[in-house]
Amino acid sequence: MAKTLAEKVWDAHVVRKGDGVGANAQPDLLFIDLHLVHEVTSPQAFEGLRLAGRPLRRPDLTIATEDHNTPTLDIDKPIADLTSRTQIQTLRNNCAEFGVRLHSLGDAEQGIVHVVGPQLGLTQPGMTVVCGDSHTSTHGAFGALAMGIGTSEVEHVMATQTLSLKPFKTMAINVEGTLRPGVTAKDIILAVIAKIGTGGGQGYVLEYRGSAIRALSMDARMTICNMSIEAGARAGMVAPDETTYAYMQGRPHAPEGADWDAAVEYWNTLKTDDDASFDVEVDLDADTLEPFVTWGTNPGQGVSLSQAVPFPGDFGDENAKAAAERALQYMGLEAGTPMKDIRVDTVFLGSCTNSRIEDLRAAADIIRGREKDPKVRMLVVPGSARVRLEAEAEGLDRVFKDFGAEWRFAGCSMCLGMNPDQLEPGERCASTSNRNFEGRQGKGGRTHLVSPVVAAATAVRGTLSSPSDLDPAPESAAIRTDAA
């Protein structure tokens, strides 16, 4: 039978088919190839194992890192916040007790869990990957079935290396055409979410397809898959191809020799069959896409940067209208204001969505030789210690520092403000992260989600801006694209 990519990966991991058929069918039990762990969603799971006297079944398929709570300054000093310090110390104790590999603050492989897995070559095509973090969907960029789970499921995977999963529906997101200069993977995914809504992907695994997706680098594909959860999807995937293999080759945990050949032979089968069908298909035109930005308090509330803040009355649905009214009030915005007239206080370049080396390069190219708006604060937080080292080897840290940005150590940072990197009440931020929820980046903080190049241009002008708004505008050819 013809299958989609997601169905192939699912079928290859079924340990036990659920009993029963139709509405009475029990979920399938699936094997999990890689379990990523961090300090926030694991302590209660480790404690559960301890209370039940259960071992962690496969430490050799488990890896942990410290990311959510970690400070991005003074990382050689004890963590000032005592509850954060306790949570990090608890992870260290648990990993030591259960034999889990841990990359701690200060280690060259420490960083955001979704940046670390791919960078070590642990995320590979055709795998099942889980983590107690909703942005696990990032790893789908490799053609892996990757899902965020809650703490009870974290404990379940620790104890059994499996998960009971309900079947999913499939949705193709077809993106055909060529992105214009200054338009990026981030704009694709923000436009997809605005189109299908924050619940549009609910129950689905999304497969991103089409010429515009094929042309993207791995870093860019990760940006897209990362935000699948913002459309409510169970997971997002891109079929592996030569771009994927080129990224994989030579990574510390990539297969070698005969294993590499066997792996590639298998990976080549990981495509949706030509005669397979999706439950739903959605089309997006890459040729006409513009830089995208959110105006509201959920990631579906976005428009093209050249547009204006919408009027609540424009929404037909009563719930959407009420949500828009509430969002405008929280965001302190007037309907009808051009997005480009909106002034920001802070620019945040970072998060598991946009903190990889290409994101930093793209932003650095925009600001090189320019001056930051003096009223804007800019934070640059590399996704991992390795990305930071790589960027420093290329001199990007100098570009950011000369511009007046703060060059920080790796972690989740201001994406969710669990560490000291937070917005003040009422402060407005252009952020390359993934969620513009009320209070997400700090109590009362106001978030506009943008791409790295829009973040960079905004830091120069002080208002939401695209690279083409700069004076002088960069040559089109000088704006880094997300191409492979």
């Binding site: 039940a52 809650g150 959860i229 294993d259």
Partner: protein, 200 residues
């Protein structure tokens, strides 16, 4: 897990869509390493506003939350479910739940009952017209009763069975340990292992 068959308690109308998990429990509370004691964290930003529904009697004693569509979107934090339970909620009604939130609820014995939006609107009106009205959520018959309103709700059969029986997931899975071991023996050698650690 405690068995869930039927619950009756004060209904709380939360007229809002897209109630994300950052609203249910802000990230600052996720630094704790315990599984209980999150009642203070529930909707903590909104509870600072005296007009918020949970700051009004008798809704502050509610145990059935009736919310707009797309409840529980965003982060995978199970703390959102713990906070709702710790506050005293036994069931949440919405026309659409985020997948991870719904999964987490099922693991913790919090009933996430999917009710058609038209019925949600009727229940909202009833609860606002007569604050303190009791809502009964019956998992056996998959119905919600609120005043004269009787509405069906949806929940997948597997979760329903586990809730009715109060079953522990890990215990269920470990009954099939032989299958897991057999599967492990077939994994190809090219699949990566985290140990021994390799770094760049």
């Amino acid at each position: 897990m405690e068995k869930f068959t039927k619950h009756t308690g004060i209904g709380v109308p939360l007229r809002q869509s897209n109630v994300d998990t950052d609203q249910i429990i802000p990230a600052v509370y996720l630094k704790r390493i315990t599984r209980t004691g999150f009642e203070d964290a529930l909707f903590s930003a909104w509870r600072k506003d005296s007009s918020f529904i949970l700051n009004q009697e008798p809704f502050n004693a509610g145990s059935v939350l009736v919310a707009g569509p797309d409840f529980g979107t965003g982060s995978s934090r199970e703390h959102a479910v713990w906070a709702l339970k710790d506050y005293g909620f036994k069931a949440v009604l919405s026309s659409r739940f985020a997948d991870i939130f719904r999964g987490n609820s099922g693991k913790q014995g919090l009933l996430a009952a999917q009710v058609a939006q038209d019925d949600i609107e009727l229940i909202w009106k009833e609860l606002e017209n007569a604050p303190g009205t009791q809502v009964t959520v019956d998992l056996e018959s998959k119905t919600v009763v609120c005043g004269n309103i009787v509405a069906p709700f949806e929940i997948d059969d597997y979760t329903r069975w586990r809730l009715l029986e109060g079953l522990d997931d890990i215990g269920l899975t470990l009954q099939h340990e032989a299958d897991i071991t057999a599967y492990e023996a077939t994994r190809p050698s090219f699949k990566p292992k985290t140990l021994p650690a390799k770094v760049s």
